[in-house]
């Protein structure tokens, strides 16, 4: 079972790397926000899986905080982007 969890961990790391490159190399700002959002949700899953892999499942509190902060950061970016919204 731990082998499966380890494989899942590595796979999520690869997905996070892809989302990160999307966030870094984005044509428009909205693509960048999309990359950041996808990276955030994948981080939540990563912590949950690592918590179970290491046998310390009280990491789940941190996963909840990640989900929270990811959503609030997303709303803040959209809100303040509409203030200064020249489309580049």
């Amino acid at each position: 079972m731990t082998a499966v969890l380890a494989a899942v961990c590595i796979a999520i790391l690869v997905i996070m790397a892809l989302a990160l490159t999307r966030a870094m190399k984005a044509p428009t700002v909205y693509d960048r926000i999309l990359g950041v959002n996808m990276f955030g949700t994948k981080t939540v899953l990563f912590i949950a899986v690592v918590g179970y892999l290491m046998g310390r499942p009280e990491f789940l509190d941190i996963a909840i905080v990640y989900a929270l902060i990811n959503f609030i950061g997303m709303v803040a970016v959209l809100r303040y982007f509409e203030y200064t919204a020249p489309i580049d």
Partner: protein
């Protein structure tokens, strides 16, 4: 396995930091900085620093990003071209970097159990703290009980940061005529779905903040993290509905009162333990049995820290958001 995760995360972090240097669009810089602090919080989780990851995620990726975004809304989004040549800074950076890397060569290897850092002070606290303080979370017991006076100083530092920001930006006053036409930028009026969902999850976030506040003794959490998460809930409310709505719910005057109440609560625990014959912030005297006294003491000061940090973070956000709204209206 943990080493592999550590290596991959560190290299992702390095690439993000590199990318931040060469970006001109400040919006992208702040978003990548959000990812940077989220990634560093992940590395803290991997290095077994659970409380630190909690704080870094909530504070670093949450509050700092929101404050920087509101500053960008005031100061403009793109950085102008830098005419000065970048050779000199590069040389300075390379020189100091080489000296530092040379310095790390004779540091003890990473993760070895017999490193000098683990021999001197740590064993005493790992063995003694269950007997003297009785909390499973060693970090909270050291933070709140052994080093209570420093945490008191830290709470006062956070309070003085609020005083600094309010004196610089002017305290946000709740405009009585807040429903007049001047309030043009009234939140996401168009986003109906966002407003309904925000109404649904803000109580959940506050409930989670209370859980974190009182769960600090047994797992990751504590006063600082709880205060920041509660402030993040109200920041979400202010972002989705307009600032004046949020100010009607929690007025700035009430926040300043709450901040000073939190710091006062912390200090009164210290004074009370002095009245009972102990030193300042000596919780053993708070109850008949010292262990119960420790529990009371830590619970109350964590509550004081939580209230103070919540009020400080929210009033700092109010000051910034008030500036943003004032600048867009005129």
């Amino acid at each position: 396995m943990a080493v592999l995760i550590d290596l991959v995360l560190l290299s992702m972090l390095a690439i993000t930091a590199l990318r931040v240097i060469f970006l001109k669009d400040l919006f992208a810089v702040v978003m990548l900085f959000g990812i940077y602090s989220l990634l560093s919080a992940l590395i803290f989780v991997n290095l077994d620093a659970v409380d630190v990851a909690f704080t870094e995620a909530a504070v670093g990726a949450g509050i700092s990003t929101v404050l920087m975004l509101s500053t960008l809304a005031l100061t403009g989004r793109t950085e102008k071209e830098n005419k000065r040549s970048s050779v000199l800074p590069l040389l300075v950076v390379i020189a100091t970097g080489a000296a530092l890397i040379y310095g790390t060569l004779d540091m003890p290897p990473f993760g070895a159990a017999d490193n000098p850092i683990h021999q001197h002070v740590a064993p005493r606290y790992i063995e003694e703290s269950p007997k003297e303080v009785g909390l499973p979370n060693l970090v909270t017991s050291v933070l709140a009980s052994y080093r209570g006076f420093d945490t008191f100083g830290e709470t006062v530092v956070v309070f003085s940061a609020m005083v600094g920001v309010l004196s610089l930006l002017g305290a946000a006053r709740r405009r009585e005529n807040s429903d007049d036409a001047a309030v043009i930028v009234a939140g996401f009026k168009g986003h109906k779905v966002l407003r309904v969902v925000a109404k649904l999850i803000i109580p959940l976030i506050i409930l989670f903040a209370l859980y974190v506040q009182f769960h600090g003794d047994f797992g990751p959490g504590g006063g600082f993290q709880a205060g920041v998460i509660a402030a993040a809930a109200f920041i979400l409310y202010a972002l989705v509905f307009s600032l004046s709505h949020a100010m009607q719910v929690v007025s700035p005057k009430f926040l300043q009162l709450l901040a000073s109440l939190g710091v006062l609560l912390y200090a009164s625990v210290g004074i009370y333990s002095m009245l009972k014959g102990g030193h300042f912030l000596d919780y053993n005297k708070l109850a008949a049995d010292p262990l119960v006294g420790q529990h009371f003491g830590i619970l109350i000061i964590e509550l004081g820290v939580g209230i103070a940090v919540f009020a400080v973070m929210l009033s700092i956000f109010y000051a910034f958001a008030h500036q943003v709204e004032r600048s867009t209206i005129k």
